[in-house]
């Protein structure tokens, strides 16, 4: 109790020269029961989320995989080999990666300029446009499925990378434009004004001063647009019906369907597909996370 009250305890340090007494805060020590309870809950939550992945990993490397989690009965890499020989998965992966990366680049470019404009420029009906963008975000894409199909068909955008990229990007844009507007709002105008006075044009100041500081926002926009284009199912179903342009989510669907009725379901192959599907997501997540943290630490200090 002595330490807790903070009264100086007569010791060599305090008695010495009338220094400020060293008040030691008692270490907060949770009871072992509390420790156990907390970790038990953690464990359950983790198990809940990790079990499907456990199945994926075990099934992907098992030639005789079933719908149940089991230690690989016949360990093999053949599931992955089958993917590329029988399912043309190389092509499928390329399609998905290409569409996701192209969408990401287009989105980052568009949100950088649109977010900046909404944050900094004065133009007529700016409020209407700003809130209109937000309104677009509230529209569920499934509601616009039919018009998207019709429009894409008339414009010749079906069964093309261009159509997929343009429409995926359009769906991503409203939210990310708002996100970027927020990032630009948080960057002091003085920085830009200083660059103008130092002799830069508005556009160059944007690229040299503002965009580097908006890096974390652009990183988030890039990550989110990549991931959602990568995971897009509905649009692909609406827009694509040639095998050449199939993306990974659609390949899944096909794998289940073609195998389902006639032969036994190839769980191993499906699991292998899923493992390869998750991999880029992991890479993007960890890559973007590090970038975002670093960016945030650099840009918010000294503003």
């Amino acid at each position: 109790m002595k330490a807790k009250t903070g009264t100086p305890v007569a010791g060599p340090a305090t008695a010495a020269a009338g220094e400020a007494p060293l008040v030691r805060r008692p270490e907060k020590r949770a009871g072992w029961l509390e420790w156990l309870a907390v970790h038990f809950v953690f464990l359950i939550v983790c198990a809940f989320f990790l079990v499907p992945f456990l199945w994926l990993l075990s099934a992907a490397f098992d030639a005789k995989a079933t719908a149940y989690i089991q230690w690989p009965v016949a360990p093999t890499l053949m599931n992955f080999a089958h993917l590329f020989t029988d399912y043309d998965f190389g092509r499928v992966l390329f399609n998905s990666l290409f569409v996701a990366i192209a969408t990401m680049i287009l989105v980052v470019f568009a949100v950088a300029l649109a977010g900046y404009s909404l944050s900094r420029l004065d133009f007529r009906r700016k409020d209407w446009i700003t809130y209109g963008v937000l309104l677009l975000q509230t529209m569920p894409i499934s509601a616009t499925m039919v018009p998207i199909y019709g429009l894409a068909r008339q414009l010749g955008l079906r069964n093309s990378y261009l159509g997929l990229v343009l429409i995926s990007a359009a769906i991503e844009l409203p939210f990310l434009v708002w996100l970027m507007k927020g990032f630009f709002d948080s960057i002091p105008r003085h920085l830009e004004e200083a660059a103008w006075l130092d002799g830069r044009t508005r556009l160059r100041a944007l690229f040299e001063i503002v965009l580097p500081l908006a890096g974390p926002g652009l990183g988030i926009a890039a990550g989110l647009s990549f991931l959602s284009a990568w995971a897009e199912v509905l649009l692909v179903i609406i827009l694509i019906d040639t095998q050449d342009l199939t993306t990974v989510p659609l390949a899944f669907y096909q794998a289940m369907r073609t195998q389902g009725g006639y032969t036994e379901v190839q769980y191993g192959v499906i699991a292998a597909m899923a493992v390869l599907y998750i991999l880029p997501v992991m890479v993007v997540f960890f890559g973007a996370r590090r970038f975002m943290v670093r960016g945030l630490m650099n840009s918010t200090r000294g503003l």
Binding site: L191, E193, A194, A195, L197, G199, P212, N298
Partner: protein
Amino acid sequence: MQFDNVWKLFAAQAESAAAVRGLSLDITDRELLVILGPSGCGKTTALRMVAGLEEPDRGDIRIGGKSVVGLEPKDRDVALVFQSYALYPHLSAQENIRYPLKVRGLSRAEQDRKVARVADMLGIGRLLPRRPGQLSGGEQQRVALARAIVREPRVFLMDEPLSNLDAKLRVHTRTELKTLQRELGTTMVFVTHDQAEAMSLANRIAVLNAGELQQIGTPDEVYDHPANVFVAEFIGSPPMNLLKATRDGGDLVVAGGWRLPAPKRGSAIDSAGTELTVGLRPEGVQIVAGGQPAEVVAVEPFGSEVIIDVRVNGEAIKVRAAPDVRPEPGRKVGLRVDPAAVRVFDNSSGDALN
């Protein structure tokens, strides 16, 4: 550099509430002009119009005889030091200072030479590799100053650059800045709300209130002969004592019966009616034996001087006295006024009459 009847209205502002109203200033070459005024008086807007960050709605701004209205900020060749310093946070101090030179397309060797010289001048050599986030407020301020100086602009614009520094550093930097400006010989327009800063820095002070120029003059002129009641109250710490007065023949009667000698007759005072306002600087009043009776209310010692609050028939007056004058509160003392220190203002317009 001149302001010629410059007006600036922000959106939704009535003409009577314009940010800057008919401002005309003639700033001499190599001068250090301080624009002084309370917050919201339009001083920063005036500065930003010189920089090209705002455009005047009416009137003209000329630098070196040529109008700069409509020119992009980049084409005006003026340097602005912001209150927030506005250092680029993602660049090191060195890159910050180098930036305007890089924009200008100077050779790398020339850039290095100029950055090194300015860093040496301001004693910030060891800060160069650091980023703004790793610098203290005072250090950031120096880097911002270096970035302005390295450009060798036609005009320096300073938007309260010292207000984010602690008191001691502020006074120190103030002196340094004044010396620096004299050595560089570049015209400087310095905006502040701190009257002490204005007095210590300025060659001339332009006092602004509610978007209008109140007075322009040397620190001594502005202090000794304020053009109106606003300037009288704004400049000086403590400010000028302002007392309601009635004219009675050759005398001015204040505070219920204290008769002061009116300064030279036959001037505007005579035609201004009998109701006037008298201004007395705290050092224009002395505590003497005899004289006008007054009661001491409080004594504020400041080391080098003492401010004594007295009451004359209920009217509060501040008196500046030598540090050894320490009357007890409640004591009766006598007051005397130096006739040359009496300022008289018109009651309705607030303008000075002598």
